[in-house]
Amino acid sequence: MDLIHYLVLSMLLFIIGAAGFIIKKNVISVFLCLELMLNAVNLSFVAFAKHLNQVQGQIFVFLVMVVAAAEAAVGLAITIVLYRNRKTLSVDDADSMKW
């Protein structure tokens, strides 16, 4: 299997995630699309690691997963605080810092 096939699949997953990031209104849905984009990038990292016969790409995936876990934990805590204070999860309702 060529590298290019994996890169095209990774690109499609990333584009779907990016489109969802723009379309979705619910904060948790936006987070899910963010995870989808991270996952697409991880796939291309592993594909390149196989192609170049190097292990460093897999270590980058490992680090990306750690950062994704930390980001998901903090983001979901912010979501809970938002729901507690505003009783909403819509990204359009949390616009206090918008002008």
Partner: protein, 169 residues
């Protein structure tokens, strides 16, 4: 031959479940189809000879992070309208158009990329690419400092979550 079949099988599953993540109106169903997508990508990691990454994809990503998501969805009263509601934005078709535009712009760039021209470094591994032993050796020697920094990051995240989620009295 086998690898091609596996690639197309799991690639189609990953793509369909990714589309379902975006198309689904209910957040909980979105989360479930993201779990399916993550498992399909883990299977693709196995075809790419990365068994360790595939294992932590299942255990950490699909196991821990997604359980966190489902917990939060359940915690936030999943039957209230505020959580369930995910109305389409009026200009959402524009996002789909833009996505297709970016796709058509990116594809020729990808096609012009010639994998044969990139240097193949063969010094670091032999035969069984990415054996877990080799991965561990590189992770704990060459990448020791980034590895330790991630533990600080996790600590910061833990403290931040506790401070944020604490009920103000």
């Amino acid at each position: 031959m086998m690898e091609t079949a596996l690639f197309y099988f799991f690639g189609v599953i990953a793509l369909l479940s990714a589309i379902n993540v975006v198309a689904q109106r209910k957040v909980f169903y979105s989360a479930i189809s993201l779990i399916i997508c993550l498992c399909a990508v883990a299977a693709l990691y196995m075809t790419l000879e990365a068994p360790f990454i595939a294992a932590i994809q299942i255990i950490v990503y699909a196991g821990a992070i997604m359980v966190l998501f489902v917990f939060v969805i359940m915690l936030l009263d999943p039957f209230s309208a505020a959580v369930l509601r995910d109305k389409k934005k009026p200009l959402s078709y524009l996002a789909v158009l833009l996505a297709i535009l970016v796709l058509t712009a990116l594809y020729p760039i990808l096609r012009s990329f010639d994998p044969a021209q990139t240097p193949r470094m063969v010094d670091s591994m032999s035969g069984d690419a990415a054996s877990i032993k080799h991965l561990g050796q590189v992770l704990f020697t060459q990448f020791l400092v980034p590895f330790e920094v991630t533990s600080v990051l996790i600590l910061v995240a833990i403290i931040g979550v506790v401070v944020l989620a604490r009920r103000q009295s």
